[in-house]
Symmetry: C2
Amino acid sequence: MVKGFYKRVLPSPSAVDFVSSNGKKLFLEAFQNGTMQGFNSLISYFQTQSELTYCGLASLSMVLNALAIDPGRKWKGPWRWFDESMLDSCVPLEKVKANGISFEKLVSIAHCAGAKAEPFRASHSTIDDFRKYVTKCSTSDECHVIVSYYRAALKQTGAGHYSPIGGYHVGKDMVLILDVARFKYPPHWVPLALLWEGMNYIVESTGQTRGFLLISRPHTKLDMLNFLDSNS
Amino acid sequence: MVKGFYKRVLPSPSAVDFVSSNGKKLFLEAFQNGTMQGFNSLISYFQTQSELTYCGLASLSMVLNALAIDPGRKWKGPWRWFDESMLDSCVPLEKVKANGISFEKLVSIAHCAGAKAEPFRASHSTIDDFRKYVTKCSTSDECHVIVSYYRAALKQTGAGHYSPIGGYHVGKDMVLILDVARFKYPPHWVPLALLWEGMNYIVESTGQTRGFLLISRPHTKLDMLNFLDSNS
């Protein structure tokens, strides 16, 4: 007898499936409104987490490819390219495979990979900050937001999870989560406030809240100096 | 010294980058026109070919997930899900890894995986047929087209390649290729007639032309009987 699961049903009405007619309607409205500007680049590198504990690495790998950051070494054949296996410079992959990855470690891996990564803990930020950065990255190609949240707050099965944000619908105040656990949930729209609730949960092992990461190319001279400093 | 390539430049003007402003314009027009109906489901499972010879398997895996075909066995943990490693039922993966995959073998793997797969060789079909099926699948969620083509005809580097079609722009008669060699080319729009030229090239080893596959769920009783017949 075959056991296991073929996906999970998205909790309704809090989540709207990207593939549903309502999901497509939200998408078209947001696209026309100019708040899906980062979508084309990010979706071009949408990937499935290759291990059940690799949600952080898969989210980061997508964003690095979307930002056209060159890993500076080969993936396969002659090709320089990011996937999770290329994110082994600062934290051993076996450790991530066993335990997943903390918020701080993901930030340091992003730095090691050549990106600018700004972490925001929910406890040291506000929902208005979050909305501001989601708006900023959904109206340009220059940054992407990765969220760290507690799935149960969204009535989803599972615990802590990372995924990137694919766009924003201003009128409905909803974000498109490009869930890297694609074997479980399709991309879906959720109210930004509900996602914020999921980010504001305390992680028991650390006593700290979850939050979000703002990832971009280190393009200014000051950024480059900070980057070199943090990696020297 | 780092060698190899960080992507290839798309040949211009025959290809339009999906991420460029013109690519986004074509996308929005096609979306509004109703000829991107299969896009949301297919892009939700867009993946990179995990080996340099796996373009056929990656294209098929995307389409199987987009059609919500259950592999009936587990991928990782409790999850039933397709990636290239799950397409090992009829042709040994080691053989595909060494030599890539022929048109016929890809059809039989699609059948083995539980899909309906209709092959069309360019030599036994017409550009009008191709346009008809591209239109059919871009105006519904019920089928997807995988093309087998010769890259050089599109002025791209490389030889034979498979990728799925993500949508169609009627006015410009252009298709969106979701190139699974994402380390090489981003998704791009190309004139349907140019792609047809690439499909109409003869493969030296077989003396036959390339072509396209129409993939769908085997939903009718007759389809199921045909499917069972071809797998008994």
